[in-house]
Amino acid sequence: MYNNCRYSLICVGISPISSVGHEGKMAGQIDVEKNIESKGLEKTLTFDDDPSLNPQNFSQARKILILSIAVLLTTSSTCGTSLATGGAKATLRDFGLPEAYGWEVLPVSIYLVGYFIGNTALAPLSENYGRRPVNLLTIVFYMTWMMACALAPNWAAFNVFRLLNGFFSAGAPATVSG
């Protein structure tokens, strides 16, 4: 049934409140449905032969561990947004610029622009390639651009680095939220 949905995707008529949401049917249960459809064919792999592999069946402790790392990750990416505020004046002074208010806000705003673009672009990737590769790659780039910010030679470069830093900080919201 989900394949059919794909073809009708372009002419979507969205119904406001689907009853589905109230029964708590989320993506994880698709496997169950798939299984009912393909019963007897044994063509499509499901979690039936080894339910312990299904993330939904992880032990509570393991789920909490995963969630707490996810929380740490999210904190690190949103912390990056406001990391520029405390030192804004010192940054401007260091680059020999006048301490103008609009320029103090720019590093924060430009990070948010990158964050938004990244959030839009990375979410589909995490769906297709899995959460792990997306997370690992984005953190590596996040750290790279964070280091670039710390070593920025001038104001323009600093803001470009902030933009890229914001883009790759979106790995956490793209993989965790929802």
Partner: protein
């Protein structure tokens, strides 16, 4: 060929990977939303103290924090996307047993660019235009989000003072001293954000309390639980007055004659209200649009980030022109 497919079903992410029932997923999401607010308050705290040494130090700390996260993800987070797991496993089985079957659930999908465009760009905008529910929630969120940033900036104004306004904005007759109320240094200003973090963390027990009331009402068949928003919206209803109270509180007690602790403590209410509100509305969108949740989310983040990036530029001119009392009240 790149085998990317955009599935019509929701872009579920780690929270939905782990928990399938609404209640537990809602709690997991609450932690995520708390983390976003906590992160925003952590930034000024770190950079406020780091700047005593050198402003570059705060980015080195950010780098170190990123490194810890990298190790955490590398060693402690397994793949949780069930499709990726199954596809990989199917490939492995086929290799070891040298057969053509089984296939993973999504291995045969092919890439459709049209889907990417529809899902990520066109559908969110269309939902904004056609769905009053999405439009309403998004507008509310887009209103709250820049208020958070303006509120965070008002801390710089209230506790530290802005000294060089006239460079970019030519404001006539600015009495700078009226903006500098408590004269904190950057480190102390960072500490002033802690009450917001406390408020954010207290959103968790409050939310459990609200869930408890809801479940009780459900078991007694109260009529209000029949409404589709009954599960999430009460929290949003509570959060409204909390935010407004906090803003008025900080607005009219931030003056030299009143001790700074009053202004600082208003942050507890703000953190609590903001987190409850965000969590309620985002969950409401996810609940309401089951398979289109990702598009609804995209719509909300679209409106939110645009406002969040643009509006803070207006904060200081506004505070300067109106004074702290009236500006926060607006």
């Amino acid at each position: 060929m790149m085998e990317i497919v955009l599935r019509p079903i929701s872009l579920s992410r780690i929270c939905a990977d782990l928990y399938s029932d609404d209640m537990r997923r809602g709690r997991a999401l609450l932690w995520y939303n708390m983390a976003t607010t906590l992160g925003s308050t952590l930034g000024p705290l770190i950079s406020g103290f780091a700047v005593f040494d050198n402003w570059r130090l705060s980015y080195w700390i950010g780098l170190g924090y990123g490194g810890i996260c990298f190790l955490g993800v590398l060693f402690l987070i397994p793949e949780t996307n069930s499709r990726t797991i199954l596809d990989k496993r199917a490939k492995k089985i086929r290799k070891t047993e040298e057969t053509d079957l089984p296939r993973g659930p999504h291995e045969d999908d092919t890439f459709i660019w049209q889907n990417l465009l529809t899902k990520v760009l066109i559908r969110p905008v269309r939902m904004l235009c056609r769905e009053p529910l999405v439009l309403g929630s998004c507008l509310y969120l887009a209103f709250q989000y820049p208020i958070l940033y303006i509120y965070l900036q008002s801390y710089s104004i209230i506790f530290q003072g802005i000294t060089n306004l006239k460079v970019l904005f030519t404001i006539v007759d600015t009495d700078i001293s009226k903006l500098d109320i408590y004269g904190f240094n950057t480190g102390e200003k960072g500490l002033a954000f802690i009450p917001i973090a406390v408020g954010t963390l207290s959103a968790f027990p409050v939310n459990i309390l609200i869930e408890h009331v809801y479940l009780n009402a459900c078991s007694q068949d109260s009529p209000w639980t029949k409404h589709h928003g009954a599960r999430r919206l009460p929290a949003a209803c509570i959060s409204g007055p909390l935010i407004v109270t906090s803003l008025f509180w900080s607005a009219w007690t931030s003056r030299p004659s009143i001790h700074w602790s009053s202004s600082v403590l208003s942050g507890v209410l703000y953190g609590l209200g903001y987190t409850l509100n965000f969590n309620a509305l985002l969950n409401y969108l996810v609940d309401g649009y089951a398979s289109y949740a990702s598009s609804a989310n995209a719509a909300s983040s679209l409106t939110r980030q645009i406002m969040g990036a643009a509006l803070p530029f207006a904060a200081v001119p506004m505070y300067d022109a109106l004074g702290v009392g009236w500006a926060s009240s607006k």
